[in-house]
Symmetry: C2
Subunit: 287 residues, 2 copies
């Protein structure tokens, strides 16, 4: 039996097939172009695998996840050109007669971390800090967000005193969390790509102050057992700064135990959490 | 059959007994003094009712709600003098041989709003803005917060440009949500009690800006079907200001439908949500 994973990102798609132990057997990446072209590539890829029994899609958004909605399975109102109002799930269902699960990219990653921890983590929030910022939360194996998927990337934060003149780059809100800490903010603040800004640069302290507030809001509003940070911007050294700022902000108000275990990088390496999560969700869909 | 409700506040206790339809049959209020005196008063009150079958306590906090903890049922580390480390639930259990439910004050209120809506609301967040600020969230009839109760009162916010010099009054964090909008901030900002500050005063716009951010964070991180605001500071006119600021902040990013239905006062009048909630929780505990 094979399980299929589609990680649909705004920049690239990663499709993979895996076995019942969620091990990757085959994997392909391609650029996100038009919906017609991109989704057809995904279909062509999976058609090769006759043993495929179920697929899970974790997609960039906003997506419609209310099952009773006429737009269930759609990418809805996205700023990404051509992709608004795309019936992603419908296209897949027309091509594959098997269970297909539909969720957000960050939910897929959160689920991957959950199964990798042998489902022993009752509640977990997974943040990605990359081209955009998003988070998915699992509580007792269920995704948080009854009527849609939460968009915690757009919360407002207390501004860092050394960053008051930076307006932020979210097209909707300016200085929301995403507008202050997504990867492209490095270019906007320093003129350099994040990859090229050394961790000794003060901009990383400012980043850590905001990301720590994201963790803090999550602790205070959801109190998950663990907060995982993935995405291109995140490194273990950066998370050390985040933990430091988090401690300052929390000021001993809520004890979450050892911060090294509470605020962590993903257990699955190389941004592979969503693939593992998709395999597990696909299998669950079969049960 | 009678059901018992204890609403344990830092200022006063409200004890009540109700029938199976959650109608109040008898009710008493008394000041919160020492734990020994206050809890004994609660015990003496309920001892009068021989038909009492279950009690639900919704308490000020922080409280321990992890059942496996040695401190389960305690008020833990509170700034309120004499009350740190009080075995509230234990004291009640020693006096009553019946099911006793233990939760937070805001959870009790959230549950009251949930049952009053005939459990038709899948998810709901109840905020209180009074002497302190707190919130409880119910999702499919279950409280959010696996390992403890969330403390959303202490999230950080984007400061209002006309309020930058106000340091906030939270003893732990200064300008967290509670430090910026709890009732006593009126005295701190204006020298007058909130009751005496007219809604035309600009301080109410500042208040609304922050409370709208609280609603916004909740929408973005939890996406409940409804956000209810109770507590002494809240009025329908104030919520109009909150809705206005919420709209500005959200900037059409997530559509929650009619804001008049999404951000509301409690359905149960006169801060009675927690009493109804306790009756319902007590009955549920019997099942
Ligand atoms: N080491 C790094 N430090 C800071 N930013 C980085 C680093 N590596 C990548 N980035 C930034 O992360 C973003 C890409 O994030 P990533 O998670 O890899 O992709 P995506 O979010 O598009 O799936 C880009 O803006 C990139 O500049
Ligand atoms: N109309 C009002 N406008 C503003 N603040 C008010 C108003 N009425 C009461 N308050 C303030 O609300 C707080 C009391 O809140 P309340 O919810 O009644 O009690 P508690 O939180 O102690 O249970 C006090 O700080 C009081 O000054
Ligand atoms: Zn935004
Ligand atoms: Zn605080």
């Amino acid at each position: 039996m094979l399980l299929g994973s589609i990680e649909a990102g705004g920049t690239k798609f990663v499709c993979a097939v895996g076995d019942e132990n969620f091990q990757v057997i085959n994997r392909i990446e391609f650029k996100t172009t038009t919906p017609a072209e991109t989704l057809q590539k995904a279909v062509d890829y999976f058609k090769q695998f006759t043993e495929l029994k179920a697929i899970s899609i974790s997609s960039f958004g906003p997506i419609e996840i209310i099952k009773t909605s006429a737009k269930y399975g759609y990418i809805t109102d996205t700023p990404k050109i051509n992709w608004s109002n795309t019936d992603f799930l419908g296209f897949m269902k027309n091509n594959f007669n098997m269970p297909i699960l539909w969720t957000t990219d960050v939910n897929g990653s959160a689920y991957g971390e959950y199964v990798t921890a042998n489902e022993k983590i009752k509640s977990l929030t997974y943040y990605t800090i990359g081209t955009g910022v998003g988070a998915g939360t699992l509580i007792n194996g269920k995704f948080l967000g009854e009527t849609g998927h939460p968009e915690i990337g757009h919360i407002r934060l207390k501004r860092h005193p050394d960053d008051l003149n930076f307006p932020g780059i979210c097209p909707y809100h300016g200085d929301c969390l995403e507008g202050l800490v997504c990867g492209p903010t490095f270019q906007a603040r320093t003129g350099h790509r994040g990859e090229d800004v050394p961790l000794s640069d003060h901009v990383w302290d400012i980043m850590a102050y905001y990301v720590a507030q994201a963790a803090l809001q999550t602790t205070l509003s959801i109190l998950p057992e663990k907060i995982v940070f993935g995405g291109g911007v995140v490194s273990e050294q950066f998370l050390d700064k985040v933990r430091y700022e988090y401690n300052q902000l929390m000021n001993d108000y809520i004890d979450v135990g050892d911060l090294e275990n509470y605020i962590t990088m993903p257990t699955v390496k190389n941004n592979g959490s969503a693939t593992v999560g998709n395999f597990a969700l696909a299998r669950r869909k079969l049960e």
